[in-house]
Amino acid sequence: MGAGTVSGCYRGTHDLAGSGDDSGTDAGSEDEGESPTDGDDAQCVEGPWLAPQTRRLSHDEYRNTLVDLFAPIELPALTLVEDAAPLGFDNTASALRVNALLVEQYETAATNVAEAAVASLDVLLPCEADDRSCPQQFIREFGARAFRRPLSEDDEALYLEFFESRDPDIDFAGRVQLVVAAMLQSPYFLYRAELGQAGPDGELRATDYEVASRMSYLLWQSMPDDALFAAAAAGELSDPDRRREIAVEMLAAARAPAAVGSFHRQWLELDALELKPKDPTTFPDFDEDVRASMGLELRSFIDYVVFDGEGTLAALLTDPHATLDARTASIYGVTVPDDGMMHAVDLDPGQRAGVLTRAAFLATHAYPRSSSPPRRGKFVIERLLCSELPPPPGDADLTPPEPAPGTKTNRELFEEKTAEPHCSGCHQALHGIGFGFEHYDAIGQYQVLDSGLPVDASGQLLGSDVDGPFEGAVELSQRLATSEDVEACMTRQWFRFAYGRAETSEDECRIEQLHRRLDEADGSIQTLLLDIIASDDFTRVSQGDP
């Protein structure tokens, strides 16, 4: 069980949806508080699999799918209204609804994409346009890829009838265009069905094609490729060992960084980086190019660790390797050629470790002029330890203290500001971690002096399995890299990302099992993904309404 509350900082009910209130969220996601299974061979008591029966494509999934569906045809740009991202992830099925504007945008996108596609009719068609069977062949073959499963005879007949019954003045290409536009607005394109079919024991299990989509959207954020479709057609995907073999190949493919990158980008809250203003007086050299460069550095680092480096959670937290250009290099105080290219370097291990000491992370969790110990502490507590924090009280003054050069450090200012008893309960935990980051300023530069005074980056971890004093964020990162709580928390978040839903109390044991295996694999992120895919749960679907 990974989630709890921070000691001395009571949140009230633990609600996975995060509302902290019992007045309206769906039940079923409450942590009932039972103890975790212990022992490696513990079996989970079979509980219901409470999952959505369908998942609308997230916008990233939709865009990637269109690209793969029509490659090599170039597609027009498209606009989609933003989705909510509960749990911090934009692929959470319950939030993936449509509204009037999105339906309109889907229509516009389908119209424009279909038009662009038929402009390259030769590429799009699997047959000669004057061949009488071409419409049917196109509908069958293109439809199977668009719907990510073979069309039923009824589907095929329906689309053929649609093709043939268009106005007489619509030519062949126009009809193909309308078929494409229709398929792109079909629920079988826009949604992934997770309905399953009854197995020998009467239990519903995901079909091979549903499993293929689960695998491709988890590992690639896109549709299956031909090989995965072939494995589904051959009925191989109900076999967990075969799934694992195929997933190993998928993780070696060029598409693989998309989903891993998306998970970490959202986990680290990096989308917020571009929204964080930085004070031009304090940081005259900071501009949008630097901002973009530091974001690229952190994404490259994650890509490196997961696919080229040690591949472990610990390495993600501690590896001082970096791939960067001259802009971010100057933030880190290292020198690389200023040629606009990315260069591999090892950062000073006394100053830098993994993600928590990277400029993009530090700048995201900071104020315009100063670091933010509360925000950095909050990130570690919530996103690395899966503990819950209550929101600040209503009358809390959330304004950062005014810098006092030569008089007080940022740390001292925050200590003063939160000294009141009704602040200190939570801020003791927040600052115990957050003060450990005081060597890094608002754009992530390493500092020995803060406001002209020596930096004190001593900290104190509370409420975890690795509690205790530490000195600086490098030691904090190393400490967290040994934490079982962190491993459990990351497993929990991958579970949410993989299944597109909040866990229920029934899932606690499943998550704990995945966590055990992750622990045995020394925290290998690829192994965690493979274990999720090869688990029995991966083919489960909701058994529908009782």
């Binding site: 949806a17 319950s94 609804r97 038009e115 229709a182 209503g394």
Partner: protein
């Protein structure tokens, strides 16, 4: 799980037509009295944060905050206007400043998520609900859409909800809702809105024929809708509702895909996104493509209000009487004034577009410190004479709701309070000829067991000194 029946939920989602949602909203008089033919329109301009009254209020000398007062602002020299409102001086004859309203939908409500809960209740006048992400969201159809249900005629875009969806504060929480837990989609791309108003612009005439024609696109939607129904029928619970909703929206789109008749296309308006939205909304209402619009802003960046590198929310919003917040709202006032300029520049009948348009500037909160009382709202235009403009009207905090005890509003929401803002919404609806006596919530229970009436019209809007 929700115990809502499917029919109730569909209804809450606004599906099934306006009559289901608003059976009582019957138009009782023509849109325009006196033989004029101009339609009446309403535009909401909702901005982030709340102003501090010290730099907003324009109290006459000797006026007390404890008693109601009003002031004729038409003869107050600009130098005597408050720092925030001074940019609006040039429109003084068309303005009705309201000061002291409260957000009645937050009465007796949990103290949490001030910005979200403010936005979720402002136009819904309904208790907020929690969405899947644990955020406060609208609990009912919002007033802009309720108005659109009654005002829109066939072939019109029922309403336009546009503006920023992203800002320095991240994703911007919605203020317009189709129904409970169902935020409206916001159009955040000015070019897309322009092309919706002028679909023929810049397009090869042949593109309106063949596979791209409206008729063919409608035929595709017509073909797709039954597939959504068929897929929905294989699902249960929330999933099924989601797909049924999708099917209905596809059918709605099929009806609305007709080109909006906005005439000859002008050049694409210039300026930043907000300036473009102001001009596009003005064009849309002037050609009667729509009669209701809601414009949402993003939080301004520091350099936009003269404090580069700052973050208004982190640095200033919560500091009582912060002069930087006054600067922030003064820029908003100038933006609002420029929007009124745009509306006044478009002739209509014997006057201008503003004569037949009501524009309401509503900050999301009563103050930078998240108060749900002490709202300061600016109305402009007067719906063909429905409101008595040129005035600043003030309500003290204890006037309208003597039954509200201090414990009703959580300490931080302040108490007691002025008249609930739901009454302003009712007054606007009635000015448009709708027979409506409450918007969503009619009453809220105070903790003393006495119901507080959120309905009825707001007093003092039409009668000078009344």
């Amino acid at each position: 799980m929700s115990v809502c029946s499917r029919r109730t939920l569909l209804r809450a989602l606004g599906i099934g037509g306006a009559s289901l949602v608003l059976p009582s909203a019957v138009r009782t008089r023509p849109a325009s009295a006196g033989g004029a033919t101009s339609p009446q329109r309403v535009i909401f301009f909702v901005t982030q944060h709340g102003p501090y009254d010290t730099s907003w209020r324009m109290a006459p000398n000797g006026a007390s905050d404890d008693v109601a007062w009003e002031r004729d602002i038409t003869d107050v020299p600009q130098a005597d206007w408050s720092p925030i409102l001074a940019p609006l001086h040039r429109h003084r004859n068309r303005l009705l400043m309201l000061d002291g309203l409260s957000n009645g939908a937050l009465l007796n409500s949990p103290l949490t998520q001030y910005h979200q809960s403010g936005r979720a209740t402002l136009l819904t006048n309904s208790h907020f609900v929690w969405d899947d992400g644990g955020d406060a969201t609208g609990g009912a159809r919002s007033f802009d859409q309720i108005l659109a249900d009654s005002l829109a005629t066939p072939g019109q875009q029922p309403f336009i909800y546009c503006g920023a969806s992203q800002g320095p504060e991240g994703q911007i929480r919605p203020i317009s809702f189709a129904g409970e837990g169902s935020p409206a989609g916001i159009e955040s791309d000015p070019v897309a809105l322009f092309e919706k108003l002028y679909p023929q612009r810049g397009m090869d005439p042949s593109a309106q024929l063949g596979a791209r024609s409206i008729a063919q696109r409608q035929s595709v939607l017509d073909f797709v809708a039954p597939q959504l129904d068929a897929f929905a029928s294989t699902l249960s619970g929330e999933d099924r509702l989601k797909l049924e909703q999708h099917g209905q929206l596809v059918r709605d789109l099929e009806q609305q895909l007709v080109p909006l008749e906005c005439g000859e296309a002008p050049a694409m308006p210039r300026g930043d996104d907000l300036e473009q939205f102001f001009q596009l909304v003005a064009l849309a209402v002037s050609c009667d493509a729509t009669r209701v619009a809601t414009i949402q802003t993003r939080q301004m960046t520091g350099d936009e209000f003269g404090h580069p590198g700052s973050d208004v929310h982190q640095d200033f919003a919560h500091i009582p009487h912060s002069p930087e917040m006054a600067d922030y709202f003064a820029v908003r006032a100038e933006q609002f004034a420029s929007f009124l300029d745009v509306l006044e520049a478009i002739p209509e009948g014997n006057g201008t577009l503003l004569d037949n348009t009501l524009v309401a500037w509503i900050p999301e909160l009563g103050s930078g410190n998240h108060d749900a009382h002490g709202f300061e709202i600016v109305l402009a235009g007067n719906l063909d004479g429905a409101f008595d403009t040129g005035r600043y009207v003030y309500w003290p905090r204890d006037q309208a709701n003597p039954s509200i005890t201090p414990s009703d509003y959580n300490q931080n929401w302040g108490n007691p309070v002025g008249p609930p803002h739901g009454r302003l919404l009712v007054s606007i609806a009635q000015a448009l000829g709708l027979e409506l006596d409450q918007v969503n919530l009619g009453t809220v229970s105070g903790s003393n067991g006495i119901d507080v009436n959120l309905g009825g019209a707001l007093d003092r809007l039409t009668a000078r000194g009344g």
